[in-house]
């Protein structure tokens, strides 16, 4: 898919900041995150545990767990601000305009109701349909997500489905009201590899057919490489790099992305050792000044210690790294990175 630049973005996130007030001070879990998603586009958000990727997704669907809160910034869906809506109004947007898919399909379904009843309930909450029409729509949705024998399976309970089939039911639930945006948080992580491929193919197909935008949050670079059009790499609550998926995967501009890609074992060439980024991501309480990645970075300069880099353009992508500051001290070093 060509990067859809001429469409107005469906989702706009501007300078989003998510904070957790604690007794020992305020923790900033998501800091100055901005991106947008066009209709029909899949934006992958990757990062390691604690990078803030799930929190960003939760902030968008309005499901931040207190005491977590959006401290500043704005989120717009189809031009309308949704981050400051009252609870009831947000509840109507969520479900109708935004669908959510979570990691564990067993905990996102109610074990006491048949899947048909859960689907009908969700459909009737958001669409003015009679019980009969809603059931018909539920059946159509189950067929669309590829559940064999849907007529029969609609009255089954979640425990009667396998993991992959359950995740299909969850996807059907997310699609109930024909949402414009789907936030999928680790949708394939709990599944086996062969099932994972099926679910990815399904999400891609649905996204194409309905022109639904998808925000795909995952730690699995392989899933992103296959599914996403663009990808945002998060590190310590900020976007380290964002760009078309091919550029980010094959020609990473940020040293962190580069290290991350190198650390994934590949089937192409068998190396003796994997590239390794030493150290770990800093805790929220001890994020270093300047660039948050600087203690682990091989290209660290004096500027990285004191000044925090904003996203700046680097090839087809944008990276938050001083190496790409045109005319800045880092310019020659950027060449080293390309050679590395």
């Amino acid at each position: 898919m060509t990067p859809p630049t001429n469409y107005p973005p469906l989702l706009e996130v501007k300078s989003l900041r998510v904070e957790f007030p604690t007794r020992r001070g305020t923790l900033v879990a998501v800091d100055d995150v901005s991106f947008d998603i066009a209709p029909g586009e899949v934006l992958g958000v990757v990062g390691e545990s604690g990078a803030g990727k799930s929190l960003t997704g939760n902030a968008i669907i309005g499901l931040l767990e207190p005491p977590g809160r959006i401290a500043s910034g704005e989120i717009r869906l189809e031009g309308r601000r949704i981050d400051n809506l009252p609870y009831e109004e947000m509840r109507r947007v969520r479900g109708a305009r935004i669908g959510a898919i979570f990691q564990d399909p067993l905990t996102s379904l109610n074990p006491l109701y048949s899947v048909g009843r859960q689907l009908v309930e969700t459909i009737q909450t958001h669409l003015p349909l009679s019980a009969g029409e809603a059931r018909k729509r539920a059946l159509d949705l189950l067929k669309e997500v590829g559940i064999p024998g849907a007529e029969h399976r609609i009255d089954h309970y979640p425990h009667q489905f396998s993991g992959g089939m359950r995740q299909r039911v969850v996807i059907a639930l997310a699609l109930c009201a024909g949402p414009r945006l789907i936030v999928a948080d680790e949708p394939t992580t709990a599944l086996d590899v062969s099932i994972q491929a099926q679910i990815i193919a399904l999400i891609k197909k649905l996204c194409r057919e309905h022109a639904t935008a998808v925000m795909l949050v995952t730690h699995d670079m392989g899933v992103i490489a296959e599914t996403a059009d663009r990808v945002a790499v998060m590190y310590a609550g900020r976007i380290a790099e964002i760009g078309p998926v091919r550029d980010v995967v094959k020609d990473a501009k940020h040293p962190y992305t580069k290290g991350l890609m190198g650390s994934i074992p590949s089937l192409g060439v068998r190396h003796d050792r994997l590239t390794q980024i030493d150290g770990t991501m800093p805790r929220l309480t001890e994020i270093p000044t300047g660039c948050a990645f600087n203690p682990r970075c091989d290209f660290r300069g004096s500027r990285c210690l004191g000044e925090r880099p904003e996203l700046m353009s680097a090839g087809a992508s944008r990276a938050a790294c001083w190496l790409h500051d045109r005319g800045g001290v880092g310019a020659p070093a950027a060449k080293d990175l390309a050679d590395a």
Binding site: A197, Q198, A225, L260, P265, R273
Partner: protein, 350 residues
């Protein structure tokens, strides 16, 4: 005849482990329900040579973790034998002799949050095997051994005074490795040691494991569902499906020229990170329940090459290209050999 060929370091023959998951006797009698038995491991043969890394791959429920637990003796086998350096593990021995054998094999578990006692200091966690096997001469020797182990896994001696909760997932897995190395084992069984970790941390742990293997001449039995990790670390690979080994081959052979239809299917599911445009075929179907496995070849309901024979007769493992394959289609020559390449053409030429 005896000792004509050198015996493999670890030899597993006809290993079976069934779990009885029946309802209670009363329920069975009143509701006329039959006994239910999960055939978690259903007759597998593995030989592991000294110094190699043998990996088991498969989807969840295929029995790979059960094999790991059987090998270290956490479960007794239902049938079959496991011999370690020529010693049959099922033979009853004097306590000291058993301990001497057990000392030489250790296990690393998947979840570094669940496998470390949260109330013990790291020092005591690592010192436990040393104390249990009486390896240290005195307190000073114990201290220096633990410090050395911590340094070996790239932690510091000062970390010994801390508790597990003060460490990240990757650091905890290092502690698990240090504990496993404490009794100076020769054979390590690693059950999904990196699947709970982020990729960059996974790379650190895999590199550490490779370094340790070289330095300490370790033999690994590595269990994982991640095929790329398995390819990276293994000498030989066994593919499991519903409690049986469907294919065993040297790593390079298995990934370049897979024989069994299930192996081919698994390889198809690896995400294409090189973006070479290789088509990933989503495979239809799911793993059936191991309570009532399909007859004949258990893979036949999902196999595009299955015929009448596959439905009735369980295939035997036949030797082929340095490994073994259990498939009628391969044996009869119905299946063409397939060459696979994963090269990223653009990046390689540049």
């Amino acid at each position: 005849m005896l000792d004509a060929a050198p015996r493999p370091f670890v030899q597993i023959e006809g290993l079976k482990r069934y779990f009885d998951v029946s309802p209670s006797w009363l329920v069975r009698t009143l509701e006329r329900r039959p006994r239910m038995v999960v055939q978690a491991v259903d007759g597998i043969d593995i030989e592991i040579a000294k110094g190699e890394t043998f990996s088991l791959v498969g989807e969840s429920g295929c029995g790979k973790s059960t094999v790991a637990r059987l090998v270290v003796g956490l479960y007794p086998p239902t049938d079959g034998t496991i011999s370690f350096d020529g010693n049959d593990m099922a033979v009853r021995r004097a306590g000291a002799e058993t301990a001497a054998l057990r000392r030489r094999m250790q296990m690393i578990f998947q979840d570094p949050y669940a496998s470390l006692n949260p109330r013990w200091r790291v020092f005591d966690i690592i010192a436990e095997p040393i104390r249990a096997f009486g390896l240290a001469k005195d307190r000073a020797d114990l201290q220096s051994r633990v410090d050395g182990l911590l340094r070996q896994v790239r932690l510091t001696a000062a970390d010994g005074r801390k508790f597990p909760h003060e460490f990240s997932g990757g650091q905890r897995q290092r502690i698990s490795i240090a504990r496993a190395l404490a009794s100076e084992p020769e054979f390590l069984v690693c059950d999904e040691p990196t699947s709970a970790l982020d990729v960059s941390v996974q790379a650190q742990i895999l590199n550490l494991m490779v370094d340790l293997q070289r330095r300490l001449k370790l033999t690994y039995l590595f269990i994982s569902h991640n095929l790329a990790v398995v390819y990276h670390i293994s000498t030989r690979v066994g593919v499991m499906y519903l409690g049986r080994l469907v294919e065993v081959a040297p790593s390079e052979t298995l990934f370049r020229r897979p024989k069994h239809p299930y192996t081919r299917m698994l390889l198809d599911t690896i995400p294409d990170l090189d973006m070479s445009g290789r088509q990933r075929n989503p495979v239809a179907g799911e793993v059936p329940s191991p309570i009532n496995p399909p007859s004949g070849c258990t893979f036949h309901p999902r196999c595009p090459f299955a015929n009448q024979r596959c439905r009735i007769e369980r295939p035997k493992a036949i030797a082929i290209e340095g490994g073994t394959v259990a498939c009628h289609a391969v044996e009869e020559g119905r299946l063409a050999v397939e060459e696979r390449s994963y090269d990223a053409p653009v990046r390689q030429r540049a």
